[in-house]
């Protein structure tokens, strides 16, 4: 059946900010959907609060609303745009939930909006545990056996049927609080007792434990004619008990025989039909008992998911694109396979390679949090690697993680691991780095059986790893010149990197590379073609292998530009950089280049095979990038748009003779090297905070005497603000130095003068070598001391004087020209007492580029790419950079604290946010209010506000508290704060601090009385009173602010929202350039 022509306008809901469990894979799927719907002639209306997405580019949809994804805002959009249909299945859980809310509230019916792809009933059957289990029972497919307990006796009765161990899940607790596994009656009593108390419904789900079973995922698609296909099967490396998103996963399924696999396949399709997913993609998860093949369905998602993105990249089958087409009436057999362009999409991809996905974690950012992996996802990103064998793919994945490792061990980084029980625990307990401990265990002589018994991981995987480790150990101590071509080929086929070979043979990486190439051991590049080479394919989606009889790279026909991507998402390096890379690819293609993308992140738009002319799904290491350079011979390589990952390759690539586009590696070094950069600032008479360096506490004291407290301190060996802190006195400094010495005795600590109370400003600019264009000036809301990635900011600046802003522009111009930037530069300023300080300058795309581009209508990354390709700013047709904008845009960071119970939520110099939202409005408070709505989905309307601030803030809190009372809130405060407030005539109730005994503020939070919490901490204390408070707030989902500037903006925002209401605005109604 052809597409439907009874619908004209389709509303697509995105997934909002990047959070753990819902990352940029939904930008990838949403962008695909918007593109394909538009190409089919539909008018596409999009709502997504995340500015760092490709899907919110004004060109992608017809009407783009960067607005909070709440029923209220989406209803406003519906009223304005009157869509005929709503596609809810491509925006993750957020999109789906919002669609459900709209449907239940009758808004869709009221405006005649049809839900396409999946209807309300099907979503409910898929999401509601009880309904889902009933459906499965009707099919005769098993779910894990369980029962609801309302008393200890209930729980015991259920356990009598199921046997120990059982999984206990209290109903409706935030973040699964109070759950656990009981192995005996004592544990049962303890956990159930606690759970019944914690659960608002007094209900605990008692479930048979399937921990240790094998876990599988099936990616399924279905059209309205009832045709169903499996796009991909995925097998988890980690056994049940570790969330799929936190598990290493492998595609296709590795250890299922045909009879087992086909049964799972048939069940997947039957489940989709039963749940009633009319069209589109879904995933179904299964657990399989490794001892007897018993198969249990765990859950299904009636929507495109994280694993759909992975499956799309793993097979070349564009699930989201197909899902969008199916939703508007096409059938699978009517859609052409994008890759072969000759066969229909109604088939099941066959792949002739192995795909390994490895999650990327960020526990180092959340001290205090338990780093054991569990059923609640904690990974912040992932990498995918393709090889002809599991060994090859695993090796690649392990060196893609951007964690300093060169592969699966054998890089000298496992020294210092403990022995005995401590090591046994490292092997047994699932953690971020466990895979390295497994390799180390095998190296230490553990048998495959022992490792399997300790971990529950399938022997297939451990055997493969044992082979890798064996080969590594056989190599250890050999000399590089002993190796011949056969030996090299074997090592490479086992997934070893040049760096690992160098480590094991005592050579250096470049020598290994030279030696290997001299022996003629070069990789081949094969193609991801959906069909295992059965049909010719015209799509250049490549991966590297040492099955090197034949390489499939097409000969060069025109100028080639290669763009190095950003690697796995992690805190500090997220989707923003992917956005920049994608834009560069588009711009360079328009400029006539054949574009080549290199990246290893399966969640992104950059790794969509149709974003660039060619896609190499490869790690971003020197070796892997050079191998691609060797075959592609690019005319230029872009290293400044993918964040730190490609930037740190710049020097090595340049030395190897690779032409770097834009800012030269020399100029990059000028800005990155502290001493060289300081010299330039001195030369230009630009102020910067006084700084020093120290290796001991004594040395640090000398520095402190020179530049004075407070100090911003950080270890010299890490990037991204890791380990940063602010110290206010000698005692704190001593403690910090002691810790730093413990962590890394060989590296000194940097000490910078901390500009307390300074206003921070970010500035993004373009420079072509002779002219500078200031893309945006962003005033931070939080004061200096909070990482710029975690701080909210506003453009244009809301409180800076025009004179000051023009001074900032002028400094930026001078500096960009002096450094010799060709492309983008980001400068961070601090302003204190009318003095402008430069904190740092990064001659690359910054995190704020997508936000600024959307706020100003000037696509900075595209312009940067054109400049790198040789164009001049004067020729780009840009509006004056000092023009007055009619609207304010606010960016606010989104924190993952709910995922890390135990981690402190205070913001500081170390970045912790995973994503961002944008609010656009006619004034700053309204724009800020939108960002708060976009994050928490509701602003506090009334009730009690709890205030407890440190002495520094006692004076400034008064006016904020006064506004709070005026808005009709009740105020409760702790002793000191209450005294300050009362002294100023603000009415408030006093409440005990945590250490002052019960009942105290914790009880008030637990009772749900607190609507908003303002708590500012002092100094470096993490274990203090405030810590417990903030933990409690996170646990109960209470909005809380940890700094005054934020509190002020919050109050102004609440007032603005209340007074005028907040209206929606489409990007297309704002001026757009380029």
């Amino acid at each position: 059946m052809p597409k439907r022509d009874d619908i004209k306008t389709i509303l697509v809901i995105g997934s909002g900010p990047i959070v753990i469990g819902q990352a940029c894979e939904f930008d990838y799927s949403g962008a695909q959907a918007c593109k394909v719907l538009k190409a089919d002639g539909y008018r596409v209306v999009l709502v997504n609060s995340n500015p760092a997405t490709i899907m919110t580019d004004p060109g992608l949809a017809d009407r783009t609303y960067v607005e909070p994804i709440t029923p209220e805002f989406v209803e406003q959009v519906i009223v304005k745009e009157r869509p005929d249909a709503l596609l809810p299945t491509l925006g993750g859980q957020t999109g789906l939930n919002t669609a459900v809310d709209l449907a239940r509230a009758g808004i869709l019916d009221k405006y005649g909006v049809e839900m396409i792809g999946c209807d309300l009933a099907a979503i409910e059957r898929g999401e509601d545990r009880k309904l889902f289990n009933e459906c499965m029972a009707e099919l005769g497919i098993e779910t894990s056996r369980s029962g609801y307990a309302y008393s200890l006796a209930d729980a015991e009765a259920i356990v009598a049927e199921l046997g120990y161990p059982v999984v206990l899940r209290p109903s409706f607790t935030l973040g699964g609080a109070g759950g656990g596994i009981a192995h005996d009656q004592a544990e049962l009593h303890e956990i159930v007792g606690q759970g019944l108390e914690l659960s608002p419904a007094g209900e605990v789900l008692v479930e048979e434990s399937i921990e240790g079973w094998k876990e599988y995922e099936m990616e399924v698609m279905r059209d309205h004619a009832g045709n169903g296909i499996i796009v991909c099967s995925i097998e988890n490396f980690d056994a049940m008990g570790v969330h799929t998103g936190d598990s290493i996963t492998v595609a296709p399924a590795q250890t299922l025989s045909d009879v087992e696999y086909q049964r799972m396949r048939a069940a997947s399709l039957a489940i989709l039909e039963k749940i009633g997913v009319e069209t589109g993609g879904s995933n179904v998860q299964f657990a399989v008992n490794p001892d007897n093949g018993r198969m249990i369905v765990i859950e299904m998602n009636p929507r495109v998911s994280r694993s759909s993105a992975l499956a799309s990249k793993a097979t070349g089958f564009p699930i989201a694109k197909a899902a969008a087409k199916l939703a508007v009436g096409y059938t699978l057999d009517e859609i052409v396979n994008d890759i072969t362009k000759a066969t229909p999409a109604c088939f099941e991809p066959s792949i002739d390679y192995c795909v390994v996905k490895v999650p990327r974690f960020a526990f180092e950012k959340f001290q205090g949090a338990d780093d054991t992996l569990s059923t609640r996802m904690k990974a912040v990103g992932e990498v995918m690697a393709i090889g002809r064998t599991f060994e090859e793919a695993l090796g690649k994945a392990m060196r893609s993680l951007e964690n300093g490792r060169s592969g699966l061990g054998a890089d000298g980084k496992d020294a210092g691991l403990p022995d005995g029980e401590a090591f046994d625990d490292l092997v047994a307990r699932p953690t971020a780095d466990r895979v390295f401990y497994l390799a180390e265990a095998l190296r230490r002589g553990w048998t495959v059986e022992r490792v399997c018994a300790a971990t529950g991981i399938d022997p297939f995987f451990i055997s493969r790893m044992a082979d890798i480790v064996r080969v590594q150990e056989n190599l250890r101590g050999m000399h590089l010149d002993e190796l011949d071509a056969d030996a090299f080929r074997l090592l490479k086929r086992m997934g070893l990197s040049d760096a690992q070979i160098a480590h094991l043979t005592g050579a250096d990486e470049l020598t290994v590379r030279t030696c290997r190439k001299l022996l003629g051991v070069k990789p081949a590049f094969k193609t991801v073609d959906t069909c295992a080479a059965e049909f010719p394919s015209s799509t250049a989606y490549h991966y590297k292998t040492y099955d090197a009889d034949e390489t499939e790279v097409a000969p060069k026909t025109r100028r080639r530009a290669m763009i190095l991507g950003a690697g796995p998402n992690r805190i500090g390096q997220g989707i923003e950089f992917d956005y920049c890379c994608v834009h560069a690819s588009y711009a360079l293609a328009e400029a006539g280049f054949e574009t080549i993308m290199v990246n290893c992140n399966p969640e992104t738009v950059s790794t969509d095979y149709d974003t660039s002319d060619k896609l190499y799904f490869e790690p971003l290491t020197f070796e892997d990038v050079m191998d691609i350079v060797d075959v592609e011979r690019p005319d230029g390589v872009v290293v400044t748009l993918g964040g730190q990952t490609p930037l740190k390759l710049a020097n090595a690539l340049a030395e190897a003779g690779v032409p770097i586009m834009g800012t030269s590696p020399e100029a990059i070094d000028l800005a990155e090297d502290r001493d060289r950069f300081s010299a330039i600032l001195d030369e230009m008479a630009i102020t910067y905070p006084a700084a020093g360096m120290a290796s001991t506490y004594q040395e640090a004291c000398v520095v402190a005497d020179q530049i004075g407290f407070p100090l911003l301190v950080r270890p010299s060996y890490v990037l991204g603000g890791r380990g940063m802190g602010i110290v206010y006195d000698g005692a704190q400094l001593e403690k910090y130095m002691a810790e730093a010495a413990k962590i890394s005795p060989d590296h000194p600590v940097y000490l910078d003068r901390f500009l307390e109370g300074a206003v921070e400003v970010d500035l993004d600019a373009l420079c072509d070598g002779s002219q500078v264009y200031v893309g945006g000036v962003l005033e931070h809301i939080e004061m200096a001391g909070i990482h710029s990635g975690d701080s909210a900011c506003c453009t244009p600046p809301f409180a800076l004087s025009e004179a000051l802003v023009s001074q900032l522009r002028s400094v930026a111009r001078d500096l960009a020209l002096r450094l010799g930037v060709v492309g983008l530069i980001n400068i961070q300023f601090a302003i204190k007492d009318q003095v402008i300080y430069i904190i740092e300058a990064n001659p690359r795309a910054s995190r704020t580029v997508p936000f600024v581009s959307k706020a100003t209508g000037v696509p900075l990354a595209k312009m940067a790419a054109r400049i790198m390709a040789g164009e001049k700013i004067a020729d780009l047709g840009l509006p004056p950079d000092d023009r007055r904008l009619e609207h304010y845009s606010v960016k606010e960071a989104v924190m993952p604290f709910g995922r890390f119970p135990g981690a402190d939520t205070v913001l500081g110099p170390e970045m912790k946010s995973t994503g961002e939202v944008m609010g656009i409005a006619g004034n700053f408070p309204a724009a800020f209010a939108k960002t708060q709505l976009a994050i928490s989905y509701a602003l506090p309307e009334g009730g009690t506000v709890f205030i407890s601030v440190c002495d520094r803030d006692k004076r400034a809190i008064v006016s904020i508290a006064r506004d709070i009372v005026r808005l009709g809130f009740k105020v409760v405060a702790t002793g000191g704060t209450a005294r300050a407030l009362r002294a100023a005539g603000v009415d408030c109730e006093e409440v005990k601090k945590v250490h002052e005994g019960a009942p105290n503020v914790l009880d008030r939070i637990a009772a749900g009385e607190i609507a908003l919490m303002i708590n500012t901490p002092f100094g470096h204390a993490t274990r203090a009173d405030g810590y417990e408070l903030r933990l409690e707030a996170v646990k109960h989902g209470v909005t809380h602010v940890t700094n005054l500037a934020g509190a002020q903006a919050m109050v102004a925002g609440m007032e603005m929202a209340r007074a005028n209401g907040l209206t929606v605005v489409a990007l297309q109604d704002l001026p757009q350039w380029g």
Partner: protein, 457 residues
């Protein structure tokens, strides 16, 4: 492999490498290492794109005379359970893989694949860049090949392969058929499948199955759907079969060139119209030959588990298991009957025309009357199934028993039962309704589990 490379492999699950070589008649040569029995074998090179189900492929009698390449690189991962075998002895000539697993993992595994192959004397090579090989076969077509672990001299092997006997014209079915008639019933179903596969329904039809190299899973599926089977050799005279007064006759799959299997299709011609007939793969070609149709050799065949086939009667697409190198030339069955073909008068070379038009065209066959095209391959527009309108017979080119592969077409076994029951609408079955028909889930899985070995049907 060099001595130093061998040293690097010491202590791994990989055996010490022994060289092996594959040479195609057009001169393409691929080096690897031996991973099963030693020897030198000749056959037609082909490839299979199934991701799993290697044992079913290796033991499929239809691969007689062929050297099979698996496109998925790592083979043997979940070991071998002999109950999954499609015949007692593998009939293929040799196996080519990228990486052979010697340390498999699965609860049903009894031995490793390389051990199984060695036990059955199958020559196999690993370490081959199988993707390069597959692309070569795809572009240059199926051809003769030699696989050797005893002679690894390229020139010598090329000389030998060019002198070897081609597949076309050989009657390979005769080599894999049974020797004498025998019964197959519910007692022959493998116990180790009971955790997943539904038990047989009570027998309600007596069926004679021509064995041209029948896969066990076809016979098992017939039994499960209620057939009491008498399996007879490929060349059993029609008279003997009809004398058994069966409710239906089944024509099995089998290897090689259908033209060479006259002993079967000449008898089929006599059976058609007498009793209901159902044919699969070679059986489909036998019916076509009996109706006087032409058969063509495909460039590199269909072998895998992901081919989309549209059922023209329902418009539904089935994902099918396929294994054939020859195919029916549909227009050769007869002139189109316009009034039953949506008014279209002329034949179309690319049968996807009918899929797009939503029409199941009918031809007038000089021998058996009206024949309808029921199934079309959406990848290349070849004929995948026909149904006779004036006599009770239908057949498909692909494999509803799958094994390995998706079981979407399981409904065809149900359809055969309905045909024998005389139902006009026997083929009109919703795939979704039939989806779980052959499977079982739930508690019995745990209880029958661990029945390794079981009965070897």
């Amino acid at each position: 492999m060099s001595e130093i490379a061998n040293k690097l492999l010491e202590g791994t699950s990989k055996p010490a490498p022994r060289p092996a070589m594959l040479v195609l008649e057009d001169g393409a040569a691929f080096r690897g290492t031996s991973c099963a029995a030693e020897g030198e074998v000749y056959g037609e090179i082909c490839f299979n794109t199934s991701l799993e189900g290697y044992l079913e492929v290796v033991t499929d009698p239809s691969y007689a005379g062929q050297i099979v390449t698996m496109t998925y690189p790592q083979i043997g991962n979940y070991g071998v359970n002999p109950d999954d075998a499609q015949a007692g002895e593998p009939a293929l000539r040799g196996l080519v893989v990228r990486d052979m697993c010697t340390a498999p993992s699965n609860w049903r595994s009894v031995l490793s694949l390389p051990d199984y192959l060695r036990d059955h004397g199958v020559v196999a090579v690993e370490g081959v860049d199988t993707r390069a090989l597959v692309r070569h076969v795809r572009d240059c077509g199926a051809q003769r090949a030699v696989l050797s672990t005893v002679d690894v001299d390229e020139a010598s092997l090329l000389r030998k392969v060019r002198a070897s006997e081609p597949l076309v014209g050989q009657n390979l079915a005769a080599t894999v058929s049974c020797e004498k008639p025998h019964a197959v019933g519910a007692g022959d179903l493998p116990a180790s499948h009971a955790f997943a596969v539904a038990p047989a329904v009570p027998a309600c039809h007596r069926v004679v199955a021509y064995d041209c190299g029948a896969k066990r899973s076809i016979l098992q599926n017939l039994v499960r759907s209620g057939c009491e089977l008498t399996v007879v050799p490929w060349d059993t005279p029609a008279e003997e079969v009809l004398a058994m007064a069966p409710d239906g006759v089944f024509l099995s799959n089998g290897p090689g060139d259908p033209e060479a299997v006259e002993g079967t299709y000449s008898q089929v011609e006599k059976i058609l119209g007498q009793v209901p007939v159902f044919g699969i793969c070679l059986g489909h070609q036998m019916i076509a030959k009996a109706a006087g149709a032409a058969i063509e050799k495909l460039k590199f065949g269909h072998r895998g588990g992901n081919h989309p086939v549209m059922n023209l009667l329902t418009g539904r697409v089935e994902i099918t298991a396929q294994n054939h190198g020859f195919g029916l030339v549909f227009p050769s069955l007869g002139e189109l009957v316009p009034e039953l073909s949506g008014g279209f008068k002329g034949h179309e070379d690319d049968l996807r025309f009918w899929a797009r038009a939503g029409i199941a065209p009918v031809v007038d066959n000089p021998r058996f009357g009206r024949i309808r095209l029921t199934h079309v391959n959406l990848n290349d527009g070849t004929a995948e199934g026909v149904a006779f309108l004036d006599i009770p017979a239908f057949s498909v080119q692909y494999h509803p028993e799958a094994s390995p592969g998706p079981t979407d077409a399981h409904y065809l076994f149900t359809a055969f039962g309905r045909l024998m029951d005389g139902r006009e609408d026997y083929l009109d079955i919703d795939i979704a309704a039939d989806r779980l028909a052959g499977w079982t889930f739930g508690e019995q899985a745990a209880t029958v589990a661990g029945a390794e070995g079981g009965s070897h049907a």
